[in-house]
């Protein structure tokens, strides 16, 4: 549920470092679940840009102002990703998204204790980047 908020509409943007170089892009994301969940129960998501999978080490999640890798997230068992709050997923990718149309596909995967499988939640958005 709430899958359309996995990539919040209008939130995809290139990330520009202080020196002006574009280091990647980011989007805001809401938990696709009906209750808040500890960050340790958020598994590594699948992120695809124009069909190409992003490597785990190039993904970061920022919640409440703290940026972590997904490996680090696995140990954060005392911070709840609350409903109606957005985290930011950043994809480190030199140059970010080039001008033009791109398809971003995300499968946000959650470890829900009462389910015998990992909860998979998909959202795909086509965005246009203009210089």
């Amino acid at each position: 549920m709430f899958n359309e908020m996995i990539i919040r509409e209008g939130s995809v943007r290139n990330v520009v470092a202080d020196d002006g170089t574009v280091t990647g892009f980011s989007f805001e994301t809401h938990l696709p679940y009906y209750r808040g969940l500890g960050l340790s129960m958020v598994e590594v998501p699948e992120v695809r840009v124009d069909g190409e999978a992003v490597a785990e080490e190039d993904l970061r999640l920022t919640y409440n102002g703290v940026t972590r890798t997904f490996a680090e997230l696995a140990d954060v068992s005392d911070v709840r990703w609350e409903l109606r709050t957005f985290a930011t997923i950043t994809v480190l990718q030199e140059g970010g998204l080039a001008d033009g149309e791109h398809e971003i596909a995300v499968n946000l995967r959650l470890r829900v204790s009462y389910l015998p499988f990992i909860s998979e939640n998909r959202c795909t958005r086509t965005v246009t980047v203009r210089a």
Binding site: E4, Y34, R35, G36, L37, S40, R80, L83, R111, S113
Partner: protein, 341 residues
Amino acid sequence: MTRIKRGVSLYSYQHEYAHGSFTLKDAIAAAARTGALGIETLGEQMIPGFPFPGQSDLPDSFYARWKELMDTYGTTPTVHDMFLDTKRYKGRLLNLDEMVESLHRDIRHTAKMGAQGIRVIVNTPPEVVEAAAPYAREHGVWMGVEVHSPYSFDDDWIKRHLEVAERVGSDVVGCVPDMGIFVHRLPRVVVDRALRDGADPDLAAQIVETYNTHGDTQALFERLEADGADPVTLGLARNGVHMIAQPVDCLRSHAELIKHIHAKFYEMYPVEGFDYWHEYSIPYHEIVPLLEEIGFDGYLSSEYEGNRHIEDAETVDSVTQVAAHQGMLAALLADLAGKEG
């Protein structure tokens, strides 16, 4: 005069809450406007900062505000829906002590809310409930395992929970049947969603027919899987296996353990000849009289589940759906009074 009361689980308004158009207060107000004065809550849904096991309880200021909200709307807290994050830590499951600690947190929270009981999520081991029973009794709170599809009263896991109730006493342990065990017609909203997502229309019709005539949905699923049906059609077939249509009569033999009812519903719709809407899948016109007959005196707590199945295609309107469900429950309860003469 029936002693059955009407309530709403705030779960019903999750779409509005998550999308930022509803606050906790708005959700309580919406429930109260329907005449449903019993409020069921999920700590981890609309109460930011709800503690993890091992963390400090919510501050007294929260509980003071909560009581103010209840006073403002003339509502009563009924049940806290607890969750047990057995998979909280990567690579290992919680041990027994950690699970009991988690449930103790829920017991304190429920008592401080002024609520009567806890909906125990079905993955909670019976021995955890048993170990927490003295603490619950001390706090004046009952615990009821949710009897939720695909489980029914016939499953050993549920039977073990009910045996705990027999051992420790039904004042402290019982059950919360979810009316989703009585899905007598496959919800249209589920089928329509599958069709929008590209399910094969002929196979979908076959799945619906098999389910609605209480046919062998497992065999159908296996056949479709072997035939290489597409994932969406298979998903619908799997829904047909997971949803269950128990006879309503099964509530009869568990009367003394039923603490609270999850009045699950998928879709309220208008029906000609009636001045209230009906639920498409679940036979409330059978359920309500039977609950009266077996002396149930707790809350029918509306739980709107259709939101997630329609959100891709239409504007979710939980307020109208809950109001329609409450309208139906009120009418069915009034009918009971009529029969008393």
